[in-house]
């Protein structure tokens, strides 16, 4: 593997981490918005408690990807920033509102639980952000962003403002909700909330599954380069993702939250890597390869060194954070 390919793989790992960790935080917003029934307030509090200590760290994976992309692949960053100006700007508004609203509500006038204006802002923004980021991903994966002589030639609407782009957006939001609900069944294991989140996980899982299958069936017509990637070299990984679908649903239904959590995360991870392996060596198919868009070798080497040193500090810190807040033993005190 070339240095550029290693950097691309690292960025894809960051995207994967963002999807399975921050995706759950966005999904938490969905369940805050849709909180209902006798435990409505408790549902919101469970979401807030699960997200509170970790959402900011989960969010940094996005920053890491952005700076890694403009350092390692400045040409691709320039093109994507133009081609996806509109969906990314809308997603950004969502990201800003989501984070600010969550913090404002946590420190606000009322207790977290009852419906509130900041709560609605938090929930609404949690839908907008992943939806529009996913439409952007659809534009890239479908090969709609065209580059000629280093210039963007496909305009500002290509690939995302399409029915297929919107379908992928819907899939992403449903998937976030699905991940969040399965994680929350683990967090609320043994309390009356577990049943609430189990039912929500099942519904979200069915919606996400339907959206996924529709996207796959339509891909050869609406997004040929995505179909080429997923049904070509990415197929073995796609199959693993698809096998995890029913496993996850059955585990949710039969109250095996820990199995469900792993199986749902596995679906996200394997779909993302099926796409990556499938479109290799393209970064923005069909015109920009990883090598085309890469920074000079001196930059890539320096970036790998910084990433290596940074990871030595980052990974143990992350482990400690999740150990303190996500281990099920409430007596765990350091």
């Amino acid at each position: 593997m070339s240095e550029a390919e290693i950097v691309a793989a690292i960025l894809w790992l960051a995207l994967t981490a963002y999807a399975v960790l921050a995706g759950a935080d966005f999904g938490g917003g969905v369940w805050d918005l849709l909180a209902s029934g006798p435990h409505e307030a408790e549902q919101r509090r469970a979401v807030a408690e699960a997200m509170g200590p970790v959402w900011e760290a989960n969010h940094v994976w996005l920053i890491f990807m952005i700076v890694g992309l403009f350092t390692g692949f400045p040409a691709a960053f320039g093109i994507l920033s133009m081609a996806l100006y509109l969906p990314f700007t809308i997603a950004l508004v969502g990201i800003v509102f989501r984070g600010a609203a969550f913090a404002f509500r946590a420190h606000g006038r009322e207790e977290v639980g009852a419906a509130s204006a900041w709560g609605v802002a938090f929930g609404g923004a949690s839908v907008i952000a992943p939806f529009f980021m996913a439409t952007g991903a659809a534009a890239v994966a479908s090969g709609s962003i065209r580059v000629s002589g280093g210039h963007l030639v496909s305009g500002f609407e290509a690939g995302w403002a399409t029915p297929y782009g919107l379908l992928v957006g819907l899939f992403a939001v449903a998937m976030c909700a699905y991940i969040a609900a399965t994680y929350l069944t683990v967090e609320t294991e043994g309390t009356p909330l577990e049943g609430d989140f189990r039912r929500r996980a099942a519904v979200a899982g069915l919606v996400a599954g339907a959206a996924a299958i529709t996207s796959l069936v339509l891909a050869p017509f609406a997004a040929p380069s995505l179909a080429h990637a997923l049904f070509g070299r990415g197929l073995p990984l796609l199959v693993i993702a698809l096998i995890n679908g029913p496993i996850a649903l059955v585990a949710v239904w039969r109250s095996r939250p820990r199995v469900a959590r792993i199986a749902v995360a596995a679906q996200v991870i394997f779909v993302l890597w099926a796409g990556a392996v499938g479109q290799w060596p393209y970064l923005v198919p069909p015109d920009l390869t990883i090598a085309d868009a890469a920074a000079p070798n001196a930059t890539l080497t320096a970036l790998l060194v910084v990433t290596g040193i940074g990871s030595l500090l980052l990974l143990p810190s992350l482990w400690f954070l999740f150990r303190v807040f996500k281990s099920r033993n409430p007596a765990a005190i350091y």
């Binding site: 760290a57 969010h59 920053i63 990201i95 984070g99 420190h107």
Partner: protein
């Protein structure tokens, strides 16, 4: 309005908003670390109370800083795609390092904010150390990237305009870094210290004279006093560097229209481009040459030696520079008076005019910092990368930049108002609990 103006307006608004939260992200963790450390050492609950109050406020401030910082990382590309496509490979490295520093800060902040009951006191205190260190490192790394825009180095341009011999380490350690970085870092502590002192001075003016307010004031004034001295020293070296490296910026800062031997300092006044002079300024002969080159008769290059389209906006840069220096001086004098009274009277001065002056230094420190960034950024114009890439050539040609600007402007106003209201609410609750 054209895209370049709209992109500059959006970027400028985002930066001016974010920087206030960013500097508090550098300074407040250090104050929390000190206060909690003093509690561990003395077991005096007042220190713990201070640390806990700051930690609550920081929960909001850090979140708003994080999301507005995210805006900026996106906007670099969304508004300036050509700039980023050109520069990313050269100056992206410090941003990547900053990404890790920010990561560490966010992780340990989660532990700190939510770990009061989950961690033992000593471990909890230890988590504040990486927050304070990585907060400072974040600022250092980001300003390295800005310094590179002032002193682009670590690459060569090929005959076809392509990049040759890219050296990201040399770019990060460009000639502006040693002066710009320390100045910004200490300014972050000036602003934090001044704002904290200001808050407790308000309480003392309202006759809430208790150990908590006194200690809050002392910690804030300690940080502000040490940092303002360092800000003066680093500001002085920065100005002398700019005299050498960016003569157009320097001439604009001082309102020097014509090249002159033995240049004067213009205190205040308004530069008038049509008359090629500064109107209404107090002129101190030869002082500028003396400060810039340690020689009262040194030559200072005037704006007339630059083509008109290579000159910064002199009115804006000169007024911003004087605002920064003026408020900086006010902060320095206030801190000096405060500490002289403490040392000679051996107790805290409760003299109301002085407390009122301390209240004023809070907002004054923010304005000084914003004005300082105005000098750096407007003084570099018309270049986005000094003498390499013009700002006018770097903006996006995307549609709908006008609505983008209006939306983000409205969002920042809303966030600022809400943050202020919630901090006031916290203060009220703190008083009710006390």
């Amino acid at each position: 309005m054209d895209n370049v103006t709209l992109a500059r307006a959006t970027m400028g608004t985002s930066l001016a908003f974010h920087i206030v939260f960013a500097v508090l992200g550098v300074g407040l963790p250090l104050l929390m670390l000190v206060a909690e450390g003093l509690w561990l050492r003395t077991q005096d609950e007042v220190w713990l109370n201070l640390a806990r109050r700051w930690s609550k406020a920081f929960g909001i401030l850090f979140a708003v800083g994080a999301v507005s910082g995210t805006s900026l990382s996106f906007e670099l590309g969304l508004l300036w795609p050509r700039f980023m496509a050109f520069s990313g490979a050269i100056f992206g490295l410090p941003f990547s390092a900053e990404g890790f520093a920010f990561f560490i800060e966010a992780i340990f902040l989660g532990l700190y904010l939510y770990g009061w009951d989950r961690l033992t006191p000593v471990v909890h205190w230890l988590t504040s150390i990486p927050i304070a260190v990585s907060g400072a490192l974040s600022a250092v790394f980001v300003v390295m990237a800005n310094a590179w825009m002032n002193s682009p180095s670590g690459f060569r341009l090929g005959s076809d305009g392509g990049l040759l011999d890219v050296d990201p380490l040399a770019a990060a350690l460009n000639p502006s870094t040693p002066t710009e970085d320390p100045h910004m870092l200490v300014s972050a502590y000036v602003v934090t210290g001044s704002l904290v002192a200001s808050v407790y001075a308000i309480g003392l003016l309202r006759r809430r004279d208790d150990p908590l307010h006194r200690r809050g004031l002392v910690l804030g004034m300690s940080m502000a006093a040490v940092a303002i001295v360092l800000a003066g020293i680093t500001g002085d070296t920065s100005a002398r560097f700019i005299y050498q490296a960016q003569p157009a910026k320097f001439a604009s800062m001082e309102g020097i229209y014509h090249t002159v031997r033995g240049a004067p300092v213009h205190l205040g006044g308004i530069p008038v481009d049509s008359e090629q002079r500064v109107v209404g300024a107090i002129e101190i002969p030869n002082l500028l040459s003396l400060l810039a080159a340690f020689d009262p008769n040194a030559v200072v290059r005037g704006l007339d030696t630059f083509p008109p389209n290579d000159r910064p906006n002199t009115v804006l840069v000169h007024l911003s520079f004087d605002t920064m220096v003026g408020f900086g001086t006010l902060i320095g004098l206030t801190a000096a008076l405060f500490w002289l009274l403490v040392i000679f009277r051996r107790r805290l001065p409760m003299w109301r005019p002085l407390l009122f002056l301390i209240v004023v230094t809070g907002p004054a420190s923010v304005m000084a910092m914003e004005a300082g960034w105005f000098v750096t950024e407007f003084g570099r114009q018309p270049w986005i990368v000094y003498e390499v890439l013009r700002t006018s050539e770097a903006a996006t040609n995307a549609p709908a930049l006008g609505p983008t600007f209006l939306i983000f402007f409205a969002i920042y106003i809303g966030l600022a108002v809400t943050t202020a209201r919630l901090l006031l609410l916290q203060a009220k609750r703190n008083r009710a609990a006390a």
